[in-house]
């Protein structure tokens, strides 16, 4: 569904905003569940949108393409840090909070753990966080520029590296977009194999992140056990698909390779191990008062705010939002499996953990069902060099990932990528202010935005 709007209609448009971007002639806005509208650029600009989530996208469009959102000129750059080609540049200055006794704490881009770079500026009074400003863009590599002018088959390796932890979901969303543009339906066997990989990825990330949160709260034992469960899933992925993260396995037209010999058994064994240990780990989570004390009521994202940002994934679902791209019509093969999507209302770290713990058994079930009903036949169809536009979505472990692209004689003329994280970073800025500074690492992990996914 795509239509052109006048400038007034563009600004008045209501709906659950997903993303905004520009190309040489138009500004585009995407709304759930896949409604695309556009407005003609005038003198290199377009009217700013008032949607909460639009801020980062409008800043990004200015940095990438020089297009100004009229009425939003004062916003700081997104990925343009004003650095010289060798990287040298000024230390970022942030306005001080007016509260008496407030001071600033600067963290990053080099953090204390094994984590991507970003800069966080906290205004604190004592230990209470008054305001958090995230300065992102440190992972910016110019991915959109690298993808332009390439065929979808060639550009797929960039899509697979937008956010490594969600490589399957990104490859899938990109494939969906490229297939729509080329008018191609992937073969049924590929559809099932894709879902198996996507669910294994979800499972691996949920396990390792839940463990990391427990580790942050002082439970090294849970961290170690959950990390081991992730490891088992990665090893099964290696055995079944030839890569621990399953990178470059989902390609436009289908999948790159079949399930390896012994792969089915490896996956089922890993699922069995996860399933066997999960209940006892989960009980530890729920029974230990000192652990619950750290996570209950910490890092609040109120449902109204989650709704205003159209938050997806476990961030949205822990704050009362029901969105899951896998539920959208035509998202094969989930229609046949009656997907269960857990929803919580509390919006705190505990609720986000709960949602993720509940999604693990569901992913196990889905993988088993996909394996049991794996159809035979072709793995991949080669797309003809097509001309057209495509919009694709995939549900990554942290929410919906959207790809928009325009093909011209089989080459990508233009493309945009919206990772779920982009709508979650502002929620992290809010959640941090509901707690003390020492809780920030835990809150950050509970939302776990992808730095690379947003910085492109």
């Amino acid at each position: 569904m795509i239509r052109e709007l006048s400038a007034t209609e563009w600004q008045a448009k209501q709906g659950r905003f997903v993303a905004l971007w520009t190309d040489a002639n138009f500004a585009y806005a995407l709304y759930h569940p896949g409604e695309l509208v556009f407005v003609a650029l005038e003198q290199g600009g377009y009217p700013a949108l008032a949607h909460k989530g639009a801020g980062w996208f409008m800043r990004l469009a200015r940095d990438l393409n020089g297009h100004v959102a009229r009425g939003f000129e004062a916003a700081p750059p997104a990925i343009d840090h004003g650095a010289a080609p060798d990287g040298s540049g000024p230390w970022p200055e942030f306005a001080r909070h007016p509260a008496e006794g407030a001071h600033q704490v600067a963290v990053g881009p080099v953090h204390a753990g094994i984590i991507e770079p970003g800069h966080f500026r906290f205004d604190v009074k004592g230990e209470q966080v008054l305001r958090l400003t995230a300065r992102l863009g440190y992972e910016h590599k110019g991915i959109l520029g690298l993808m332009r002018g390439k065929s979808p088959a060639h550009a797929a390796r960039f899509a697979a590296r937008v956010s490594g932890d969600a490589t399957v979901a990104h490859s899938l969303a990109f494939a969906h977009a490229a297939e729509q543009a080329a008018g191609l339906t992937p073969p049924p066997r590929a559809v099932n194999l894709r879902a198996i990989m996507a669910e294994l990825e979800r499972l691996a990330n949920h396990a390792s992140d839940v463990g990391a949160m427990a580790g942050d709260a002082g439970f090294a034992f849970l961290d170690a056990r959950f990390a081991l469960l992730r490891e088992l899933v990665c090893q099964a992925a290696q055995a079944a698909f030839g890569h621990r993260l399953m990178m470059d396995r989902v390609v436009p037209g289908g999948v790159a390779d079949d399930l390896a010999e012994g792969g089915r058994e490896a996956i089922l064994a890993a699922l069995g191990a996860v399933e066997a240990e999960l209940p006892s780990l989960r009980r530890v989570f729920e029974d230990y008062a000192s652990l619950q004390d750290r996570v209950v009521g910490t890092g609040l994202v109120p449902p109204a705010l989650a709704e205003a940002y159209a938050a997806g994934g476990y961030v949205g679902r822990a704050s009362g939002q029901r969105g899951d791209a896998r539920l959208s019509p035509g998202y094969a093969p989930y229609e046949t499996f009656a997907l269960y999507v857990p929803v919580e209302q509390a919006g705190d770290v505990a609720a986000r953990i709960k949602v993720r713990l509940e999604e693990i058994p569901e992913s196990i079930r889905l993988v088993r069902e996909c394996l049991a009903s794996l159809p035979g036949g072709a793995l991949c169809l080669a797309p003809d060099p097509a001309t057209g536009m495509g919009l694709g979505v995939a549900e990554s472990f942290r929410g919906a990932v959207w790809y928009w692209l325009r093909l011209d004689a089989g080459l990508i003329a233009d493309i945009f990528i919206a990772d779920a994280s982009t709508l979650h970073w502002p929620l992290l800025e809010h959640a941090a202010t509901t707690s003390i500074l020492a809780d920030f690492p835990l809150i950050n992990k509970s939302i776990n935005g992808s730095y690379a996914g947003g910085d492109l």
Binding site: G87, E139, I143, S163, T167, A224, L228, L281
Partner: protein, 184 residues
């Protein structure tokens, strides 16, 4: 409940020690001696800096600390600041927005210090080579002592590289690598 599970697993599992490829250890040793590097001990601290990665390499850096790979058994551990570190471990392409922070992290380290580039991105920019904001791997910003290639390299490869580096530095124990099956 916790203690039951803990005991079951303590008794049930012993992580095998990995040894590096002897050729790699020898080459590292020769390179370091040629450079006149002062010797470090065997227990080294690592500081990680992601400089324009996709976060795939970070996942495997976390995996080298899990119960299977158990990095600390080699005397290696991650620390929170470059000021506490002997090894700077760099992932990512070295992009324009991180080059300054990467340079500063290296400067903040006490000497002697080593730099390890992990992943194809850190080798030379990997698939992102050619982008105007990609400087071209860690070596474009800081001198690099060891590269572990791969996208991402698997945990065993990362460990083998790091252990080779430690062996090359060790004054008391000349490297006597034992090769496990699959580790050549």
């Amino acid at each position: 409940m916790v203690w039951k599970t803990t005991i079951r697993h303590i008794l049930g599992r012993a992580a095998p020690a990995l040894r590096p490829d002897p050729a790699l250890a020898k080459e590292m040793s020769a390179r370091l001696q040629a450079g006149g590097a002062r010797k470090l001990g065997r227990a080294l601290s690592i500081r990680h800096v992601a400089a324009g990665s996709c976060n795939g390499c970070e996942l495997e850096l976390r995996a080298i600390q899990n119960l299977i790979y158990d990095l600390t058994q080699y005397g290696l551990s991650f620390v929170a600041s470059p000021r506490h570190a002997d090894i700077l471990l760099v992932t990512g392409v070295s992009n324009r927005n991180m080059a300054q922070a990467l340079r500063q992290a290296r400067t903040a380290m006490p000497e002697p210090a080593l730099v390890v580039a992990v992943g194809d991105c850190a080798l030379d920019g990997g698939v992102f080579k050619g982008s105007p904001v990609v400087l071209g791997g860690a070596k474009a910003v800081v001198p690099v002592d060891l590269v572990v290639a791969g996208c991402p390299p698997n945990p065993a490869e990362i460990i083998a590289g790091l252990v080779a580096l430690v062996d090359a530095h060790d004054t008391k124990m000349p490297p006597k690598p034992k090769i496990l099956p699959g580790m050549t």
